[in-house]
């Protein structure tokens, strides 16, 4: 795996100078490579992982499982891309198994999401059925465990 991407995927705030120090490479090289990765669309965005549950004003998330009729020319792409355009939708993925698309939706309330599904997703041409799973608690996101546990302690000085 590209070492720069590996570092950035763990920490979007890592600067070219920090990455250069970690890899033992010239800073200018690293900066140029990052620019290339951005320009070519490999790096899409730098995001912050937020534990919303720690805040009073939180969001509601749901996973929708959709059955979709396969289109002759476009397969699942046309429906998937149509769904992806809604700003409420966080992710759209084609999946194997009983359903075809897995869609993550963010809303202010359960009602909000229920209306969104009923009014926007379910009526779409090609969508045969929807099944909405509200997320009740998140334990791990993007490889990060969200439940607070004290860090195990090491002795402060050992030989």
């Amino acid at each position: 795996m590209n070492e720069i991407l590996e570092i950035l995927s763990e920490n979007a705030k890592a600067t070219p100078s920090e990455i250069a120090a970690l890899l033992g490479r010239p800073e200018a090289d690293v900066a140029r490579e990052i620019k290339e990765l951005e320009d070519s669309g490999v790096i899409r965005k730098y995001v912050t992982l937020i534990n919303w549950e720690k805040l009073d004003q939180s969001f509601v998330f749901a996973v929708l499982e959709l059955k979709v009729a396969l289109q002759r020319k476009t397969g699942y792409d046309a429906v998937a891309e149509r769904i992806a355009r809604f700003s409420e939708v966080e992710s759209v993925r084609l999946i194997s198994g009983d359903h075809d698309l897995s869609v993550t939706v963010r809303g202010k309330s359960m009602k909000d999401i229920a209306y969104f599904v009923a009014e926007r997703i379910a009526p779409l041409e090609g969508v045969q059925s929807t099944c909405t799973h509200f997320i009740l608690k998140s334990y791990k996101e993007h490889g990060v465990i969200l439940t607070d546990k004290p860090k195990p302690k090491r002795l402060v000085v050992t030989p």
Binding site: I7, A21, L22, P152, R154, V156, P159
Partner: protein, 397 residues
């Protein structure tokens, strides 16, 4: 009789101590341990163990084994599956064949293996050569085994690789063994195949046993690790000591092993069976899981140490603490000689003034004077913060 008991001479526990133990000085690390423990907000670069927690699949395998009730002794030598797994790996990686039945012993950490090696091979008055600076246990272990430790100094000039001349200078007619520990704690030095070859003549001419502590072998950052046992004709006279503590972040589990000639390993097994009986069963189960399925996590940890190594060593050189490139373990060993302070003065002032704990090099032997042992087995954020604080400290000198 009752009367006499009232006028007993005072009990003097000291008079009952073994004289070798009584003469043993306390570890130089203790003082820093106490200082750091009392300090809020200190960053410790003084820890000689991984900051990673043992990978979950290893812990989970141990938990499952406990749930299944595997709480009994294992054979003295250790679980056969674990011995086989280790021998398989050694065959793959070092291209050396050891018989899992006769040529391996599972120990309670490499520490026990070092102790057993000296106890099984030294007679009273026999001498063992230990290159220094080195891990703090070797010379006391020689003394506890009734032997006499002789140290062989190493220097920055040779990037702390032991030179044949240094060993020759320490040899007497009583020398029986030489200890090698590369990749090295505290310096991060390694010895390549060619470096080790330079020692082979001295070893053979003086009929020495080589005790090779290779616990940091997996943490080699430039090419694969070389063992003295790989040199032609040297396998028989080498005891390889290794374990999972550093490679698989398993320090607290206490699992090590010794590989060597059946007579040597057999002698160590005798001592082991009368003192330890067997390494803890649950830890052996965990070690087996780590040996069989732990490579990916191990490589991930090694990669992370390597990133930190570059970050930290370049940082030390940037702020004015000259540091040669450590190619193994997770220690940097910068020099403080140009700053006009001894290792201990430097370390103590750095701790008091900037709250960064390092270990003065002289703790590991006289050749460590003028250097600091800094462990980079700590998070990147802490390393960056520690470098900032060290730079501030230097600007005030």
């Amino acid at each position: 009789m009752k009367q006499n008991l009232k006028n007993l001479p005072a009990w003097n526990a000291d008079a009952h101590l073994n004289r070798v133990v009584r003469a043993m000085p306390p570890s130089g690390i203790r003082k820093f341990f106490d200082l750091v423990s009392e300090m809020e907000g200190a960053i410790s670069l003084g820890v000689g163990e991984p900051d990673f927690v043992t990978p979950w699949h290893v812990r989970e395998a141990c938990i499952y084994s406990l749930e299944s009730g595997n709480t009994h002794y294992t054979s003295n030598k250790g679980m056969p599956e674990l011995r086989e797994s280790i021998c398989d790996q050694v065959r793959r990686e070092l291209k050396l064949d050891y018989d899992p039945g006769e040529e391996i012993l599972i120990t309670t950490g490499v520490s026990e293996a070092v102790d057993l090696a000296f106890r099984a091979t030294l007679n009273p008055g026999d001498e063992a050569i230990v290159p220094e600076p080195c891990y703090v246990a070797y010379t006391p272990d020689v003394a506890l085994a009734g032997g006499v430790p002789r140290t062989a100094p190493t220097s920055l000039e040779d990037e702390f690789r032991v030179q044949p001349e240094a060993i020759v200078s320490a040899i007497t007619d009583k020398t029986r063994a030489v200890l090698l520990s590369y990749p090295n704690n505290p310096t991060g030095a390694i010895m390549t195949h060619a470096d080790l070859e330079d020692l082979a003549d001295v070893v053979v001419e003086n009929d020495l046993l080589v005790i090779s502590d290779e616990v940091y072998a997996k943490l080699s950052y430039s090419g694969s690790h070389a063992s003295f046992a790989q040199l032609e004709g040297m396998k028989e006279r080498t005891l390889i000591l290794n374990g999972l503590s550093k490679s698989h972040a398993m320090t607290g589990w206490r699992i090590g092993y010794a590989l060597g000639d059946p007579a040597l390993v057999g002698a160590m097994t005798k001592v082991h069976q009368y003192t330890m009986l067997c390494a803890p069963t649950m830890a052996q189960v965990a070690a087996l899981e780590a040996m069989e399925k732990g490579d990916e996590e191990m490589l991930h940890m090694r990669h992370e140490y390597d990133l930190r190594r570059r970050l930290f060593v370049s940082g030390l050189n940037r702020i004015g603490l000259d540091c040669f490139e450590p190619r193994g373990a997770f220690y940097a060993f910068p020099s403080v000689q140009s700053w006009g302070l001894s290792s201990e003065e430097f370390a103590e002032r750095l701790l008091r003034e900037q709250k960064v704990a390092v270990v003065p090099g002289n703790v590991f032997g006289p050749s460590g004077e003028g250097f600091l042992r800094c462990s980079y087995a700590t998070s990147r954020e802490e390393l960056i913060e520690a470098l900032d604080r060290m730079e501030t400290f230097l600007s005030g000198l």
